[in-house]
């Protein structure tokens, strides 16, 4: 069946799975897939085998989902960095994936604020997961086959770059891969020429285009005809004031996307991101200081650890922490769509403690953005010394 024959008004991209993301059977499926996936990594991915051996863990130790946190600690950037230093970046990367070396099809990376890039290798199995996840997120945002998408995320190595272009194309949409690197002028000129209905970019870039458009093309962003903005990569797309500013300036709906398989819904007020990949990943919350598991209940907040339980390891491993502090909401969303919700409230390494008060940069962003246009929305926190917690 070709994509164009599917009913464009259906609520979900994947009608066989997405309606059931909140069902009790999903936990059974997660357990089955987790056990199967751990066995696959143990056999085929030396990095994960070493990790399991170091902590005396065996795939067969997992009898219930709760057992995972008992046998393996969170895997943080520091762990990946240490392994990369020991084995070399390329070797260490290959050893995380249970697939032959010739299966690598695309390589992205995060630069991080300090140090070496963290590689994101894509195998065919990884791409399939990436495509499916973003098809679900894009569909919920209202993107349909044939929609022209102006791609304004950075294209150079960025996970939100080429991998997102490929995912959009795979679901039948038509991305225009201009990239943030091309600059605001080119991006806006191409928007005028090709009349995209959708814009992909970071929230701060969307804000920047609001200021830049009148100067660069003599028109406001409202005149571009963009109806959907998919933003992510930073907290702005989840902050009420930033959302208000962007949505009103463009006359578009803003959707927030996140690395853990999350996308925000169409409800008029931001409800967090729905986890659209409950069937393919397990999200746990831990205390960033003690690694202790925080029960997943309404309002629970902690460092997010994500275990990807499908594919071959190329889309993420077991209990991977990207350093995000997440707050979850398990009650049904007013929008009626499936998948429990989460918000990224900050990052473990961005958490600032000022006289005992915890401050996240995203919260500062929100307060400052409320003063637009008396401020541009851009700011920096000046650190005279390293901070930690």
């Amino acid at each position: 069946m070709s994509v164009s024959h599917l009913d464009a008004s259906r609520p979900y991209w994947n009608m066989e799975v997405e309606p059931f993301l909140d069902s009790p059977q999903m936990r059974e499926l997660q357990l089955y897939r987790l056990r199967r996936h751990l066995a696959l990594l143990y056999e085929g991915a030396p990095f994960w085998r070493r990790r399991m051996e170091r902590y005396g863990a065996q795939p067969s130790d997992i009898r219930r989902l709760e057992d995972l946190a008992k046998v393996l600690p969170p895997c943080r950037k520091q762990d990946l960095r240490e392994d990369a230093e020991k084995y070399g970046t390329v070797e260490s990367m290959y050893q995380m994936v249970a697939a032959p070396l010739d299966q690598l099809r695309l390589l992205a990376a995060t630069s991080g604020t300090t140090g070496e890039p963290t590689p994101y290798p894509f195998t065919p199995a990884g791409m399939e997961i990436n495509n499916e996840t973003f098809a679900r997120i894009f569909w919920r945002a209202g993107i349909r086959p044939g929609d022209r998408i102006l791609h304004g995320f950075g294209l150079s190595m960025f996970v939100g770059g080429v991998p997102l272009v490929m995912a959009a194309s795979a679901m039948g949409a038509c991305p225009i891969p201009v990239g943030a690197e091309a600059g605001a002028q080119r991006l806006l000129k191409i928007a005028l020429t090709f009349e995209p209905r959708v814009l992909f970019c970071t929230p701060s870039y969307a804000e920047h285009l609001i200021e830049a458009a009148p100067k660069l093309i003599g028109k406001s962003v409202a005149s571009l005809g963009i109806r959907i903005i998919v933003a992510g990569g930073e907290p702005g797309a989840g902050l009420p004031e930033v959302r208000r500013k962007i949505e009103s300036a463009y006359g578009a709906r803003l959707f927030d996307i996140g690395g853990a398989g999350g996308g925000s819904c169409d409800w008029h007020e931001y409800q967090g991101m729905h986890n659209v990949r409950v069937d393919g990943s397990i999200i746990e919350l831990v205390d960033p200081g003690t690694d202790e598991l925080i029960p997943l209940e309404d309002g629970a907040r902690g460092e997010a650890c994500v275990s990807t339980i499908i594919g071959d390891g190329s889309m993420g491993g077991i209990r991977n922490s990207l350093g995000d502090i997440m707050e979850v909401t398990l009650s049904p969303c007013p929008c009626g769509r499936s998948g429990f919700r989460y918000r990224i409230v900050g990052r473990t390494d961005d958490m600032l403690k000022v006289k005992g008060t915890i401050v996240y940069p995203g919260a500062l962003d929100n307060v400052i953005a409320a003063f637009y246009p008396r401020v541009t929305g851009e700011f920096r926190i000046v650190l005279d010394e390293p901070h930690r917690g």
């Binding site: 995320f153 950075g154 401020v375």
Partner: protein, 64 residues
Amino acid sequence: MTPPLKLKIEHGEGIAGEALARLESELLEAMRAQLRVTPAITWLAPNSFERTGKKTQFFERTYL
């Protein structure tokens, strides 16, 4: 970290003098009320920070 929290913020086009002073006192009041912090603000002209389209860097580190 050692207080105060230091922020560099871009003011909007044409905001200066009295208007900037008013903006600062309103912003400080909002920060106090919502976040319980009183930062020290350095104001910068619009477009002082580079717009890269990549992940925003919230921090400017003065140490090595």
